[in-house]
């Protein structure tokens, strides 16, 4: 019943994507926890974490696709929202360390003791509470996107100029978070996490749960994003992408539409960051580096802009290729990755998703509805 009402919403490709996601979500923890280590099918712990990381990247790519693929906002600063979500989660886990830190200070994280700080800065209060930290995971990136977007969209900054100022935004945050007196651990960031909600972050069980939560977040955000883009709101947003001034002359306040989708996307990126940090065990200012945000855009383009599932798939494939190439071609992996990008751009201009759509429509000899795809540039 539910699947029936969901079908028109998520589409055939989306349904396949969700089914695969569910499969992976169940198979990976089973292969890790249930299958004995002696079995060749056993999945090592590090692989679970690695795959969990991919899921977080996939969610980041999905959030980029939501604004870029559907609204034409090429954000080159989405890494900032991801990192802020990560920092919010990291701050919670820092507070959980308590007196188990190297300096044994129950109140202050190690780096503050090292800096001779006497008391907790005001903005660290509240992060000992998990619900509070969760709220901040959404609120901080959301609020930054709201303020930033309000100024940018109201002043009608678009195209390359908007991309450049989003780069500037993440770069400014990178520099700010590098400073020790910001109170976020400076260069080293936040690390040495012990546990989350009382469960050890090193334990295989915790990692499996974090992996499953990452899959769940990806699936839920995918459905939410489809709901947004399938509504009339979504059609307005696509129209903004293709003919912004026409939308204005129809009486729509374009800046409000852009703001909503930008904030929604920033929150998704923040959630991705929050799930990423406990799995990799560290968050530092390098997550704000402009290159990270650009990479997320590459994943999206690689997977197929304007499809959502394509962007997620792109993130997973590119990162898997990256891990694989570094293993088999330790000296030449960057060239291999570059060749992959060039190859996809040349032979699959619409990304992996476009290529799949092409194959299936050739096979069934009927055109696939790709109306939301192939944005006008």
């Amino acid at each position: 019943m539910i699947t029936k009402s969901l079908m028109p919403l998520i589409g055939k490709a989306g349904a396949i994507f969700l089914a695969m996601l569910l499969l992976v979500c169940l198979a990976v923890p089973s292969l890790n926890l249930i299958v004995p280590i002696s079995s060749p099918l056993h999945l090592p712990d590090y692989a679970v974490t690695l795959l969990g990381k991919y899921m977080c990247y996939a969610l980041l790519a999905l959030s980029v696709d939501l604004v870029w693929g559907f609204c034409g906002i090429l954000s080159l600063g989405h890494g900032a929202f991801f990192a802020l979500g990560g920092y919010a989660m990291g701050m919670y886990m820092m507070r959980q360390i308590g007196s188990r830190g190297s300096y044994g200070n129950a109140e202050l994280p190690d780096f503050m003791v090292f800096l001779n700080w006497k008391s907790l800065p005001w903005y660290w209060h509240g992060f000992e509470s998990f619900p509070f930290a969760l709220a901040m995971v959404a609120l901080v990136p959301g609020l930054l996107a709201l303020v930033f977007g309000w100024f940018a969209f109201r002043s009608r900054v678009t195209g390359v100029y908007l991309s450049i100022i989003t780069q500037a935004m993440t770069y400014a945050l990178l520099l700010a978070f590098f400073r020790n007196d910001m109170g976020f651990g400076g260069n080293n960031g936040l690390t040495d996490f012990k546990d989350i909600l009382g469960y050890s972050v090193q334990a295989a069980g915790t990692r499996a749960v974090l992996f499953m939560l990452s899959c769940l977040a990806l699936g839920v955000c995918f459905v939410l994003a489809r709901m947004i883009v399938n509504s009339k709101f979504g059609r307005v947003v696509i129209s903004i992408r293709d003919a912004e001034s026409r939308v204005r002359f129809l009486g729509y306040r374009v800046e409000n539409y852009k703001l909503f989708i930008f904030v929604a996307s920033a929150i998704m990126a923040g959630v991705a960051g929050a799930l990423y940090v406990p799995q990799v065990g560290i968050i530092n200012p390098s997550e704000f580096s402009p290159a990270n945000s650009i990479e997320a855009v590459i994943w999206t383009a690689f997977g197929g802009r304007g499809t959502l599932w394509g962007a997620a798939l792109g993130a997973i494939v590119v990162n898997a290729a990256k891990s694989w190439f570094t293993g088999v071609l330790p000296n030449a992996w960057l060239y291999a990755l570059g060749a992959l990008f060039v190859g996809v751009t040349l032979f699959m201009p619409k990304g992996l998703a476009g290529a799949f759509a092409g194959w299936t429509s050739v096979k069934r000899n009927q055109p696939e509805d790709v109306s939301a795809m192939e944005p006008a540039e």
Partner: protein, 246 residues
């Protein structure tokens, strides 16, 4: 002859880098009136439309719609008080179907919230279907607007304006690039629309204006050169001079 003034431009001037696109322009359009605007290239026709729809702010002068001052409003607000605009180059949403184009243009609350919760009830469906019929695009309802012919795009854009239910419609060169048959159909469509709302048409095609049979305003160098019916205007010595470049 005209009941009341709907649109009123008083002493409007706009200049771009010293070039006076509009120079002390005065124009009044009555409610329900249909008016044709002609003039040589650079006469300020499109700039006038830009000023009315909020795309360009005038340097001087007053622009009023009913009793509202348009100069202090943005494009979206102006569209929402009942002024629709058709561009010179047909601009429809190419990646949406014909149906969706009309649905997006339909008069309704334009807020983000209402767009997220929007659904098509049967009254709305009927309205779209009726408009499709009026613009001769019933068969193309499910086609992407980008795949329509030039003439069909022009009609779709007029259809979108109909869905907006504007009190005043500004139409910029609706028959540019149309075949004779299409031109005739368009004239009929515009006359039909003029029964419910005021229409201002900018056009070069004299035959088309004759077919409309309405009052004509001639613009030249940003101000009104002559006004009256087409025959009177065409026999006006100043208009002849301007058009023949004397």
């Amino acid at each position: 002859m005209i009941s009341e003034t709907l649109l009123y431009l008083e002493a409007v001037s706009v200049s771009f880098d010293g070039f006076k696109a509009l120079n002390n322009l005065n124009l009044a359009v009555g409610s329900g009136e249909m008016r044709a605007i002609i003039g040589p290239n650079g006469a300020g026709k499109t700039t006038m439309m830009d000023v009315i729809t909020g795309k360009t702010k005038p340097d001087e002068g007053r622009v009023a719609f009913r009793d509202l001052a348009l100069t202090s409003m943005n494009e979206a607000a102006i569209a929402n008080i009942g002024i629709g605009r058709k561009f010179q180059k047909p601009t429809v949403f190419e990646r949406h179907t014909v149906w969706d184009n009309l649905e997006l243009a339909m008069k309704a609350d334009r807020s983000v919230h209402s767009s997220l919760r929007w659904s098509l009830d049967s009254a709305r469906r009927d309205k779209i279907a009726a408009t499709l019929k009026r613009i001769n695009l019933e068969a193309a309802s499910k086609r992407l607007a980008g795949n329509l012919s030039h003439g069909q795009k022009q009609w779709l854009e007029i259809g979108m304006l109909l869905m907006q239910e504007p009190e005043l419609l500004l139409v910029d060169e609706p028959v540019a690039g149309m075949t004779d048959a299409e031109t005739e159909k368009t004239a009929a469509l515009l006359r039909d629309i003029a029964q419910h709302s005021a229409v201002v048409v900018v056009e070069h095609d004299m035959d088309f204006i004759r077919a409309l049979g309405v009052r004509v305003t001639v613009l030249h160098e940003g101000s009104v050169l002559a006004e009256g019916n087409l025959d009177a205007v065409q026999n006006n010595q100043r208009v002849i001079d301007v058009y023949l470049g004397r």
